[in-house]
Subunit: 485 residues, 2 copies
């Protein structure tokens, strides 16, 4: 792309001023619409060192109310960030609906800065394409700019910055390296732009030789993009086929629930297994393997007690339980996976989710909290999400805690009849229960479509809670042993 690209003819000074004034006003006016129509706008500014990314952003944001944007300068990942999946720190920064986020260098810079093995590069490109597509599919406007200058121009700028004491710090080692290897950097930038130039999130190459002309190109393109996106509020996108290797799952109705575990055996097993899990946790910690344990299941199926038996075996400094309720307003204003991305464990840590991102294809589907297009897309989006985690090296354990409808009724009644348990049962539980069949259909579809080989579902038959707890412990232990081999 970069290589085929030609500069547009720069307008004469007078015309440039007129257009610039108009474009700035237009951007300023559009921010209200962006806010009202709840459009989230992510602007990525990449480009050559000394191309003027920072000063460009400084000028653009002057047209926007500070409450409606943030500028994020991404530098090399910190030690902490290196212990999260590659996309974590970018996903964490996505804007909320109605706001702008300007990224001063992002994932492109990280991917193209240092050479990496081809297979890793391919996988990064795939991740980026999925990430950007998930954003645009979910209503984000993603605008990507690459500020382009020639080798000669870059050299001139570097020399001029180096001459002065108070600007020479602005020339980085990377700038010098780039200029000395301009042609090979050009190749690698070109390859990256080409590989990630998607119709829904295309690249715009900007002639960055002159400051005002740069600003004009960017603001005009940005406002144009915003106008188009505002036009298309709430449109549906084609569903992608969910192409991940799947493990066959039974229908819920096919699962026998007659397993029983005697108290004595339970106690013995529990003690032994918890001890073993504790040992494994230490080894995980040292080997820096991240673990994600996800619990879903019927109300009153026994998720809480089950989680307690897992957590009870773990060192408190190395795990966290995330109870997931309905999203807060600031969470609802972002991509639905954002609140899970930001809750991921560091390497060596365990995150246990009491209810999960699967809410999208269960409660959100059934209650109409998202559109049909949204939840139908989500199977693939979730498989992609878990693929990121798996590629990062995470062990992913997903439990569906299963009981039958009668058992639920029994437990609901028991809760109502036991004063200290009464807080556990609400009107909503009864309402959900009425939708049992709808949930059963949704759960079956979910199990079929998201039980991937790298993140399969495990069924915990929980009519006898003791049985379910021991089964969970055994599965966790087996999977961790596999990962630690």
């Amino acid at each position: 792309m970069l290589k085929e690209w030609s500069k547009l003819q720069e307008p004469i000074a007078e015309e440039l001023e007129i257009r610039l004034k108009k474009a700035r006003l237009r951007l300023s006016a559009l921010q209200t619409e962006v806010k009202e129509k709840k459009l989230p706008v992510l602007v990525l500014v990449e480009g050559w060192g000394t191309a003027g990314k920072g000063s460009l952003l400084g000028r653009i944001i002057q047209n926007i109310d500070p409450r409606f944007f943030k500028v994020v300068s991404m530098s090399a990942p910190t030690e902490e960030e290196r212990r999260k999946p590659f996309l974590y720190r970018y996903f964490a920064q996505i804007p909320e609906a109605g706001k702008f986020c300007f990224l001063d260098s992002g994932w492109m810079d990280e991917i193209t800065r240092e050479p990496m093995p081809p297979a890793l590069y391919e996988s990064r490109i795939e991740s980026v394409k999925r990430f950007e597509r998930q954003l645009t599919d979910n209503g984000y406007l993603v605008m990507k700019f690459f500020l382009h200058i020639s080798a000669k121009e870059q050299k001139k700028r570097i020399e001029s910055l180096q001459k002065q004491k108070d600007t020479c710090w602005r020339v980085s080692k990377n700038d010098l390296w780039q200029n000395a290897h301009y042609e090979s950097c050009l190749d690698s930038f070109d390859a990256y732009l080409k590989a990630t130039n998607m119709p829904s999130a295309p690249w715009y190459i900007v002639d960055a030789k002159k400051q005002k002309w740069t600003e004009l190109q960017v603001i005009e393109t940005l406002t144009q993009g915003i106008e188009i996106a505002l036009n298309n509020n709430a449109f549906s996108v084609p569903l992608l086929q969910n192409v991940f290797p799947l493990v066959r799952m039974p229908l819920l109705s096919e699962i026998p629930l007659n397993q029983v575990l005697e108290e004595a055996e339970y106690k013995k097993d529990l003690k032994q297994l918890q001890k073993r899990l504790g040992e494994l946790h230490n080894r995980l910690y040292r080997k820096k393997v991240p673990v994600i344990i996800a619990y879903e299941g019927w109300d009153a199926a026994g998720k809480g007690g089950n989680i307690k038996r897992i957590a009870g075996a773990l060192d408190a400094r190395g795990y966290e339980v995330h109870p997931i309720a309905s999203p807060e307003p600031h969470e609802k204003a972002r991509h639905y996976l954002w609140r899970f991305w930001t809750r991921l464990p560091k390497t060596g840590h365990i995150a246990i989710f009491d209810r999960t991102w699967y809410g999208r294809v269960m409660v959100e589907r059934i209650e109409g909290f998202c559109s049909e297009n949204d939840w139908m897309r989500a199977y693939n989006e979730i498989n992609e999400f878990e693929k990121e985690l798996s590629d990062w090296g995470a062990v992913i354990l997903k439990f569906w805690v299963q009981i039958d409808k009668d058992t639920q009724l029994e437990r609901f009644r028991e809760r109502e009849d036991t004063p200290e348990k009464r807080w556990k049962i609400t009107e909503e539980d009864w309402r959900n229960r009425e939708k049992w069949d709808l949930y059963e259909e949704a759960v079956c579809e979910m199990l079929q479509k998201t039980s991937t080989t790298y993140a399969p579902w495990h069924i915990l038959e929980s009519v006898d809670k003791r049985y379910a707890r021991i089964k969970a412990l055994k599965i966790v232990i087996a999977e961790l042993e596999k990962a630690l081999e």
Copy 2:
């Protein structure tokens, strides 16, 4: 993709029948909406030999009124088709608005069937991606199915077909070859599917082991796709940057128009140049170089006379002049480039267009015959179109015939005052003249954005028509000589 793909669990026979009945009815019901909302639907069916593409199509179309669809079976290109650009025969088959076109194998089959040099393969993939994106950007629904069977299943089918006299003809050499080289075919199919799996036109891999289950998967996916597309009627798409190498063009106002050519010199030059062009035409014909000459210009600028002087030099069997008026209803119902794709010359032939595809960014823009999003996208689409022609080996000559506003007025008046020329001037010409400034702006933008190195614009200063004619001849000759070197 194919390699990661897992079969969905097939429903039990009873459920399958119920869903199939429902899906067929839904498809049948949707055809009315497709027609009313003028959605063009292109369904591409690819897959392994003996996977059942033909019989699948036979069953699908039973749900659609014959007036609303056509089935096209693509086999290897004919001798005639080989003399057109690769995409020609596919572009020619795109459905009109409100109708279905089912392609039994298409460009995938052509690209993956025979090994080709990597550079050619890359260029084919690029062409396909552009083609499909142009269709979806312009409101087409493009559904792509790949019918998948295992090597074992394919072998079984081949053997069973071969056993019977009246079916053994259905086993092609290619089927046998595929089965003998199943793994390497799988690799090449997988690579193709991955490379062309775009969010706006994704692939759907279909488990084609059982006939009814195959049908169900396809109809359910198809109806889902149609429903989503109907939801999104007339949405705008992000504008892609026009990344083609451009030649700088002057503003119309900067072009001097004071050139004059004396009658005597003109006659001498004309004779000489026409003779030379005639010679070149013969060599072109023998070397099978296709030539496309495109004329645009102001009303009364002298396009007709100019074309006459070119055509006058050519052998009538080797060229065609296409006068382009407003599109016919069947043309308007398709992608705006369709009527030009279908008018392309064969190799060795010359096509002269009196007005062209540039109507999109001139008259259609100014008169509002297409949306802003449409004409703004068109610069890139047109450059892509001409790139296809250039890659095919065509010489592309684009002339803008330039006069000033006063000269036009003079000629309009002369036409009105001369009985035998009066037919040449209409009310519309006067109306267009009132929009001179709008046209001038549009023409300048067009010249800037579509003058690529492989298909640059040439200005013919035509206040003196003789000068313009000689200049055109000289340019045509020079470019043809270059191509014949």
